[in-house]
């Protein structure tokens, strides 16, 4: 297995609370990894540290063997890291089509083109349409994205994260707040895309059904530290993990 991203003693404190407490982790190419943990375990912080939304107090992040610890977000994206957000982060006042045009123009290095109208860039628009078909939003391409249903907005959010064609893609609770039908739709998309695309997916999820059915590898975070790390079967048997999820017993019985 080839390593795509590695952290070394990554630390981040919010006051006295440790959100990341010396995390050493290596992510491998092509392995669909899930990060789980109880609320406040530091999952989102960990992703924020890797994608550049916040900077660590100490420690290092390497991507493709190159240090990226202090690189600004947009440069990390150009290197091949992207993400979706837990809280909806689309362009609500733009149409679905325009939403996807923004990252694709950037992918084609044409965001600075300021004279020709959008419709002139035929190759970009073809790519946008291809992506719209893949994600199943082609019929709604002219809809103002702020008026889409919640599920469709989540799909668009994922499409926006995929659009820059990242090598490594973080999905932060891709199915948050969805009904079961929408959830299946999103998961099928994630599963298919992780196979078709040349990207490695890392998912943060609360829903254990999803985590155990989808992942090749599960990392359990607790109080900013890696509590357990391994394939789903192994995590299921892990006593420490069970303890952390104490009180969520029912959740585990289900599996």
């Amino acid at each position: 297995m080839q390593e795509i991203l590695r952290t070394e003693k990554l630390k981040k404190y919010f006051g006295v609370v440790s959100a990341a407490d010396g995390v050493d982790l290596s992510l491998e190419r092509g392995v669909l990894t899930s990060i789980i943990g109880p609320n406040g375990a530091g999952k989102t912080t960990f992703i924020n540290l890797l994608t550049g939304n916040i900077l660590p107090d100490s420690g290092k992040v390497f991507f493709d063997g190159e240090e990226i610890t202090h690189l600004p977000i947009h440069k990390r994206v150009k290197k091949g890291i992207c993400r979706s957000f837990q809280i909806m982060n689309i362009f609500p006042k733009l149409s679905v089509y325009e939403n996807l045009q923004i990252p694709i123009f950037s992918l084609f290095n044409r965001s600075l083109s300021f004279f020709n109208p959008l419709s002139r860039h035929v190759d970009v628009n073809e790519r946008v349409e291809k992506l719209l078909r893949e994600i199943g939003l082609f019929d709604k391409k002219d809809v103002l994205s702020g008026t889409l249903s919640h599920g469709d907005q989540r799909l668009l959010e994922i499409a926006l994260a995929i659009a820059p064609e990242p090598k490594l893609l973080f999905l932060d609770e891709p199915t948050a707040g969805m009904n079961p039908v929408e959830r299946v739709k999103v998961l099928e998309n994630v599963r298919r895309l992780s196979k078709e695309k040349q990207s490695t997916f890392v998912i943060v999820e609360h829903d254990m059904d999803i985590v155990f059915s989808l992942s090749d590898r599960i990392v359990v975070l607790h109080r900013g530290q890696v509590l357990a790390d391994g394939p789903p079967d192994q995590i299921k048997q892990n006593d420490d993990v069970r303890k952390v999820y104490l009180g969520e017993e029912v959740l585990w019985e289900k599996i």
């Binding site: 982060n89 006042k93 733009l94 950037s106 926006l160």
Partner: protein, 316 residues
């Protein structure tokens, strides 16, 4: 032909024949409307498209006006004066913008306000260069010329009107292309969700700065139209109340429409011209009218007409 094309052609013809139709005063008014339109269109690239409310645009307007005035006093060439004024606006926006765009929302507005007022106090105190409260006087309306090729006398008001009209139309056309280009779309993205744009691989700061510089260039261009028209430049054009003009006309016309600032500018001068005849406290009346219009025409006059009035005449 589309109704919009017909309307634009009619408007162009009207503006072209205006010197025959109207007197000097009308031309003087239309020049002012064009100046404010160019000024406000640049401003709206920041507000309506990038989501940044600048309260210091008069600073760049003044830099453009003073720079072009200084040039015209030395080199009597309208072309060089306008060019230098425009560039001066852009360069000062580049320097101050570098400091301003690190912040957004109210912090950005406050920073631009204070930088704008810095320009104002410079214009006021730096007597040797700006002439202090006397301003710069005796600025010639220099001929438009390229030595050896052509030279047009700008002294008749019609000629200067045509010069401002043509340059404004080019500027308006350019910014129209900008807001409808990939760059314009990316700016709209920054307005809606800057994080998502960063994750498209775009440097938000660089794009904000670029948008700020373009607004500065437009403010500088608008400013450089003024000295040859009035033959003087005085500090009040750098005052924050002048920065409020593009804010007002843009809100009046509609911030999320391209033509909003232009329509707003036209209304601004029509309303002002009507009130000034009755009272010197025209700003009070004007303010009340603007508040009323903004309340009645939600999203701006342009949006109101294109959504409520026009559809009745044009059947789809």
């Amino acid at each position: 032909m589309k109704p919009r094309t017909i309307f634009l052609i009619a408007l162009l013809l009207f503006l072209l024949f205006l010197p025959i139709l109207g007197g000097k005063y009308i031309l003087y008014m239309v020049i002012h409307i064009l100046i404010l339109s160019v000024f406000a269109l640049g401003f709206n690239l920041l507000l309506g498209y990038t989501g940044l409310l600048s309260f210091g645009q008069a600073g760049f307007f003044a830099v453009g006006a003073y720079a072009s005035a200084k040039i015209l006093l030395v080199i009597p060439s309208l072309l060089i004066g306008t060019l230098v004024g425009t560039l001066a606006g852009g360069i000062s926006a580049l320097i101050l913008g570098y400091l301003c765009i690190r912040h957004t929302r109210i912090y950005f507005s406050m920073l631009t306000l204070s930088f704008g007022m810095m320009v104002y106090s410079l214009a006021w105190k730096w007597r040797e260069v700006t002439g202090g409260d006397d301003g710069l006087v005796g600025i010639p309306r220099a001929p438009l010329e390229i030595p050896g090729i052509f030279s047009i006398n700008m002294n008749p008001m019609e000629n200067y009107y045509y010069f401002v009209l043509v340059v404004s139309i080019v500027a308006i056309f350019l910014i129209y292309r900008i807001v409808n280009s990939p760059f314009g779309l990316t700016l709209k993205g920054i307005r809606d969700s800057e994080n998502r744009v960063a994750f498209a691989g775009v440097s938000i700061r660089a794009y904000r700065l670029l948008s700020f510089v373009i607004a500065g260039l437009y403010a500088g261009l608008a400013g450089s139209f003024l000295p040859p028209l009035e033959n003087t430049v005085t500090p009040p054009i750098a005052h924050w109340t002048h920065s409020a003009e593009p804010v007002m006309v843009t809100l009046l016309g509609g911030i999320h429409t391209f033509s909003g600032p232009i329509i707003g500018s036209i209304l601004f001068y029509i309303i002002k011209d009507l009130i000034v005849r009755f009272t010197q406290y025209w700003l009070i009346v004007f303010g009340s009218i603007v508040i009323l219009l903004v309340l009645v025409f939600r999203g701006g006059v342009v949006v109101f007409f294109s959504e409520n009035i026009l559809p009745r005449f044009i059947k789809k």
